[in-house]
Amino acid sequence: MKIAVIVFPGSNCDRDLFNAVNDLGGVAEFVSHRATSLAGYSAVLIPGGFSYGDYLRAGAIARFAPVMTEVIRLAKAGYPVFGTCNGFQILTEAGLLPGALKQNLSQRFVCKTVALEVTNNRTPFTSHYQAHQRIDLPIAHADGCFFADQETLDRLEDNGQVAFRYAGENPNGSLNNIAGVTNAAGNVLGMMPHPERAVAAVLGNTNGQPLFESLFATLQEAH
């Protein structure tokens, strides 16, 4: 059960995601943005960073990379697909997730640890969290303000597509304090916080660990 970590030019959390999966007992492999097949992979992780320098708009160029055709195929087929930070931006640009990520209200990049609520623990990535569990995860982004029109927001809330919500300070102005959303089917998750930065006790935070354990359990069941 191999997990693909996609590497775009400018990805810079690819090694962190890869290490998190492997340190927690999973099997991750790097897959180039040029790859034309994801055959053999059970799940796809899209890392944070600055794909293509974030030039034009965060995630806007990455969606045209050859590998994205395959990412979209897997997402539509129900495989778990996850994007953090720039990965979330890429998934919205590719149309796999609703909404868009705008510039932070502060107009500044912000890196800190923030409080979150696990709003939906019935997704392939959150089943090992308690319902409404409070957790802390690091964020590091300039464009993390989640935006969608009212109709979309209502639909996300009604369908339980909001997976994570900022539970203390809203660090970027996201509507409804949304930190992470899934697609309607629930198999695609995007979130601005970085769970892969919170899986080692020596760094003082292991709140990201259940996300990866949830994914592993999902893959075990599917197997």
Binding site: P9, G10, N12, C13, R15, D16, N19, A20, G48, G49, F50, Y52, G53, D54, Y55, R108, F109, V110, C111, K112, P138, A140, A142, H194, E196, R197, V199, A200, V202, L203, G204
Partner: protein, 742 residues
């Protein structure tokens, strides 16, 4: 393109004087080195390579005073960065560099390209950069223009480092009017590598290829090196063309491609060097000199962003994100393939030749043909006049300034709101401090701490520079700078390993400024010996002046330390109610150059008291041993604002307090900045062992309490402050000033 002037016209019209080459140097080159007149391109190359920025011709005699070896040093000064053994076949690589002049003219790009340049120095050694640090010195935030410069500098550092995926884990930011016309922007980078992957900037082997990789060459940054070797004045307000523009995305690709080549195919590579100051000429001439080889380049092959560039412009451009490689003959296409995978150009622009000549072809002509060492090794060192600044003798005669403090609490609150002391998180939260998932302790502590994956080890790192002390007494100030850096490293539980430095001074042709440089280096060198922290890399930034007004002499010390076992990393904040509080070191009437003096009098004055380096180093070793034995719960080094500020900082972001008995300490001494002090908290069960380890150096002054109050009984009063209120004062000071409309 035709050359602008004939050699004879150059001799007659002396354009080189505008490029900072002196007539004496020009004549020496023509009469003694070449035995002919240099042409236009050659004269340009000499003026850049003989600038202080590239040649260190003025500072070299002083730099030789630094120790730069010990058993751990694998590579000292002279390469892209210094390298230190951290056991297990691993090494830490680090260097700091100043980007003061570009940042003063254009803070955003100046700061960004400062970060970019120092990162290239690290990965050119074969190391992956794992952390960035900075040392920033600005004018006062009350000036609206300065607020803009501060915010643009911070954004420049953040945008570059964040995009590269290198965490910024520590640094310092201070404010003083002396920097208002000439900012100091010093960037440090730290890399990690396996020792067997060490690369050098060397080129040799007749027939081997000289390959150019990375971004194209444009007209930006031409003469940046000489620009950095002259002072600012309003007359030269239009030197903007000397500032480079950065592209961190390009550099990220360049880094990954270079590391792939170095790690997977070291046998294809002879040497690699960043094209930094003075671009192609410095990197190629230095690599050929290091390899004892000759080199022939065809400038028509250099990838160019603009048409009709002259040989002079191509050679001196400081366009960013470029590297020069020497590649074993026959592997040119293999190297090209690696770079193509990252969408980067890799072009053979020349070959290594027999002999020692440096030959450049452009547009079918030979535009330069000179012995390569005349660019790099034959630079005339300059004797400098020096004279003790008159202010120092006057300060020794004057009576020491002694503050009268009637309300210790009010003074503490006021100090916590001084921009140099106040919370800097509004700045450092704009830097990604956690990418690469190794950050154990991030910005805002005494030192940043990173784990070394796959081991129990950690690396601690800090930057420190206090221009005020060096201004008041260069030699003692120099000692203090190193001692302060060592204290920061030890406070985090690490053993100091080595230092890098940026020596930021005014115009060295002023005898008083050269004296400041010389004597502060004497002080730093003595301290480096005492702490066994050799200087393994660094740079010199002179001519930091605006309209004849020099900055305080501000040597920045970047220090790295080794934590043998991360189980013993020591936090800055108090940990448990009931722990005992100790003060290490002697407190006296050390108010000269203090934050208190600046706050109450608006200026700094007086003479510094000397201190015992050997005793300081011995106490630090004892403290580290007590930490490694598990006797210490927290430790914080005392710096700006003295004991009072340090006590408050050790309680911020906790719910704890201190109850202290300081019955022999007058209120004013709470804010004295006596050197070499720490506050340490110790679990009561470790009291005997801790006291046995530290002896008389540590004095118990109270205990950690469960109530969130800072309470102390002083000789002449009481301190009784709610910590939450203190923290709010400290946190709001800078955001409030930045928002100010006035």
């Amino acid at each position: 393109m035709k050359q602008a002037m004939t050699p004879e016209e150059i001799k007659a019209q002396k354009p080189y004087l505008d490029w900072s080459l002196s007539e004496r140097e020009y004549n020496y080159i023509a009469d003694t080195l070449l035995h002919r007149l240099p042409n236009y391109t050659e004269t340009g190359l000499y003026s850049a390579m003989w600038s202080e920025h590239c040649s260190y011709k003025k500072s070299k005699p002083v730099l030789r005073l630094f120790p730069n070896k010990n058993a751990r040093v694998l590579q000292g000064p002279g390469e892209g960065a210094g390298v230190v053994d951290i056991d297990d076949g691993q090494a830490v690589v680090f260097k700091a560099e100043s980007h003061n002049h570009p940042s003063t003219v254009e803070p955003y790009q100046g700061a960004a390209t400062g970060v970019g340049g120092i990162l290239r120095d690290i990965f050119s050694m074969g190391a992956r950069p794992i952390a960035s640090l900075d040392s920033l010195h600005f004018g006062e935030l009350s000036d609206p223009k300065m607020r803009m410069k501060v915010q643009n500098t911070v954004k420049g550092i953040g945008d570059y480092g964040n995009c590269m995926g290198i965490p910024t884990v520590a640094g310092e930011t201070t404010f003083d009017p002396c920097y208002s016309g000439n900012l100091l922007v010093n960037a440090m980078s730290v890399g990690l590598m396996d020792q067997d992957q060490l690369q050098k900037g060397v080129a040799n082997g007749v027939g081997n290829a000289v390959m150019y990789v990375g971004a194209k060459t444009g007209r930006d940054g031409i003469h940046g090196a000489t620009f950095a070797s002259a002072d600012f004045s309003d007359e030269h307000a239009t030197q903007r063309s000397a500032v480079q523009v950065g592209d961190p995305f390009m550099e990220k690709l360049l880094m990954e491609a270079c590391l792939k080549l170095i790690q997977e195919h070291p046998d294809w590579l002879v040497g690699i060097q960043d094209m930094g100051a003075a671009g192609i000429v410095s990197s190629s001439a230095e690599m050929a000199t290091e390899g004892g080889a000759g080199m022939e380049l065809n400038l028509d092959l250099v990838p160019q962003r603009e048409p009709n560039m002259s040989a002079y412009e191509i050679m001196l451009s400081e366009s960013q994100e470029r590297m020069l490689l020497c590649v074993v003959k026959g592997h040119e296409a293999d190297v090209q393939k690696i770079f193509e995978d990252f969408d980067l150009a890799a072009v053979v622009i020349g070959r290594i030749t027999d002999g020692h000549d440096y030959v450049l072809h452009h547009d079918g002509q030979v535009v330069c043909n000179i012995p390569v060492t005349t660019l790099t090794e034959d630079v005339l060192e300059e004797e400098s006049e020096e004279r003790e600044p008159a202010r120092l003798a006057a300060a020794r005669q004057a009576a020491a300034w002694l503050p009268e403090i009637t309300d210790a609490g009010a003074t503490l609150r006021q100090l916590l709101a001084q921009s140099t002391v106040a919370d800097k998180s509004i700045f450092f939260e704009q830097y990604d401090s956690m990418v690469q998932t190794a950050t154990v302790v991030g910005p805002g502590s005494d030192a940043g701490v990173l784990r070394v994956r796959g081991t129990k080890k950690g690396l601690a790192m800090t930057t420190d520079g206090n221009g005020r002390f060096v201004y008041l007494d260069p030699e003692i100030g120099g000692k203090l700078a190193v001692a302060e850096a060592a204290a920061n490293i030890v406070a985090s539980g690490a053993q100091p390993l080595a230092i890098t430095d940026c020596l930021n001074y005014g115009d060295p042709t002023d005898p008083e400024i050269f004296w400041e440089l010389h004597h502060s280096v004497l002080g730093m060198a003595a301290a480096c010996r005492a702490f066994d922290t050799p200087v393994i890399s660094g740079n010199v930034s002179l001519y930091n002046e605006n309209n004849g007004q020099a900055i305080h002499p501000t040597p920045m010390i970047g220090m790295v330390g080794l934590i043998r076992d991360l189980a013993h990393v020591i936090p800055m904040a108090a940990q448990h109610a009931g722990d005992l509080v100790y003060l290490i070191g002697h407190t006296g009437n050390d108010f000269a150059g203090s934050e208190l003096q600046k706050m109450l009098t608006g200026e700094i004055s007086g003479a510094l008291n000397d201190f015992d380096l050997a005793a300081t180093a011995a106490t630090q070793r004892q403290l580290l041993a007590a930490m490694e034995a598990g006797h210490v719960a927290s430790a914080h080094d005392l710096a700006e604002g003295g004991l009072g500020v340090a006590l408050a900082e050790a309680l911020f972001k906790t719910d704890l307090g201190f109850k202290l008995g300081l019955k022999d300490m007058p209120a004013a001494q709470l804010f004295a900045e006596s050197p070499a002090r720490f506050i340490v908290t110790v679990p009561a069960s470790h009291q005997m062992a801790f006291e046995a380890a530290l002896g008389t150096a540590a004095r118990q002054i109270g205990e950690v309490t469960a109530s969130h109050w800072l309470q102390a009984t002083l000789k002449d009063g009481q301190l009784n402050e709610n910590v939450a209120t203190l923290q709010t004062t400290w946190e709001e000071a800078i955001p409030c000033q930045l928002k100010s409309k006035a």
